[in-house]
Amino acid sequence: MRLSRISFVFRRVLKSFRELLWTHILTSGTMAMTLFIFGGFLLIQQNLHGLLKGWGSQIQIFAYLENRLTAAEVEPLVNRLRGYPEVESVRFVSQGEAWENFKKSLGSQSGVLEGLSADILPASLEIALKAAYRNHDSLAGVAQRLRTEKDISEVEYPEEWMARFSLLVLGIQWAKWILGGFLFMATLLIVGNTVKLAILARREEIEIMQLVGAPAGLIKTPFVIEGMIQGLLGASLSLLFLWLLFLFLSSQLPFTLGVLTDRAQLRFLEPESLALLLFLGWAMGAVGSLLSLRRFLQRW
């Protein structure tokens, strides 16, 4: 495109924003709403995912050992378990250590244990899995194999809880696209409508331009660029609101829910998600304009 064309397109876009300011603001606002909702889901999903990962490192399988086992017999068992491909680490907790831990957890009330012998609690193995296997299926699989070990009397792991939490993350992942999809369609219509208004407001001008031989590209480009600018504005606006929401929630959540141990566990959107939102805004604007142009320009 020649410089004179670029400057022409640029001036027309400016003029349109000046003359149809409120239409443009409303459309950008609508786009911002859609992207805000979509981005909100993205934010929740990302943080739950982060939490899941964080908690995952604390997720362990407890394998309780037969009481008759001697330290020498435990050694080969531990080594064998370390050979499992899923297993990251295995820690042996002796009967004595278990007893100490138990006493500690009772704190001031540990007096009730007076007179009991230390060997009523079984020795156990605390088995942590590698990050890639910290999901419900792998946990269940490993637990199943542990049960077949003759020296292990019982196996425990946070079963239900894991399954539900994974399901929640999955649900949010899907809801984001389904609800987002509907919102995007609606927004596309609204953008298309704005462009329609912009075209109708300029109908005479466009006709004159066509009659004096303006190339079609020169007539269409300003509208497409307007759409893109609206989209980027809307996306930026939604990011601003998401950021405010994030600040607000991260100051509130830990107290109301008590699931969070550390505020730093909360994260704002990753750079890729920020880019995705900006891209979606940009694309919605461009596509909305193009669809509308196709419908309304060819009639004359």
Binding site: R2, L3, S4, R5, S7, F8, E204, E205, E207, I208, M209, Q210, L211, V212, G213, A214, P215, A216, L218
Partner: protein
């Protein structure tokens, strides 16, 4: 310059707007398209700049086969043609100068050059003092001259005007015709559609007569005078 071979235009079935038109206009000619209301004058002009598509026949304008042009070809054809409408069709929210300059800009002339060209033309047409006004503030005759300035700003080799004097009083009409005569003197081909028989009498250019979509006479060949 303009060749029409057996051209027909049918908007609605059984009611053709143009039937089997055969017409040749040479470079540098000045031609009136005349005939009563509904004769098909406007339709014929529209066919020449592809404002409408011919239903049948072949049309050549400036060596371009108008019936076979794509979008880009239509734009290029129109860049060589200056159009003047009866209703002027000026943009009411733009200044006179911007109205004229816009036409130059959209075909790729840089802004400053476009505005300079527009200003010079307006001065030539006696509108120097009105270049900053908006069209609604102008008289009919002034608006018509602005419309003519816009048609001329891209140095067309062909000017098509539809009832350019329709909204003007007799004096203004003659003034406008003399303006067209001056443009014609520079070698521009001019085709003017009009149902004003008086105009044909006062300006003795070639006249082509249409009636109910048929070409009934051509002063160039038969010497048929205006009726």
């Amino acid at each position: 310059m303009i060749h029409l071979f057996r051209v027909s235009k049918i908007y609605a079935p059984n009611y053709p707007a143009l039937v089997d038109i055969h017409l040749e206009i040479e470079k540098g000619e000045f031609v009136f398209l005349s005939g009563p209301s509904g004769a098909g004058k406007t339709t014929l002009l529209k066919l020449l700049f592809r404002g409408e598509e011919a239903t049948e026949g072949q049309i050549i304008v400036n060596g371009r086969n108008v019936t076979r042009l794509n979008g880009r070809g239509v734009a290029r054809l129109r860049q060589e043609i200056g159009l003047v409408f009866q209703e002027f069709r000026l943009l009411p929210t733009m200044t006179v100068l911007d109205n004229v300059a816009l036409a130059a800009e959209v075909v790729g002339t840089p802004v400053r050059e476009s505005r300079k060209k527009a200003f010079n033309l307006l001065r030539e047409l006696g509108l120097k003092d009105r270049h900053d006004a908006k069209p609604p503030a102008l008289s009919g005759g002034e608006q018509q001259r602005v419309a003519i300035a816009r048609a001329l700003v891209n140095d067309p080799i062909l000017v098509l005007a539809d009832e350019p004097t329709g909204n003007l009083d007799a004096e203004m009409a003659d003034e406008t015709m003399r303006l067209f005569a001056r443009i014609h003197d520079r070698g521009t081909t001019i085709v003017i559609a009009t149902h004003d028989a008086g105009l044909l009498k006062r300006f003795s250019y070639r006249a082509v007569f249409l009636q109910r979509g048929r070409l009934l006479g051509d002063s160039k060949f038969a010497g048929e005078a205006a009726t």
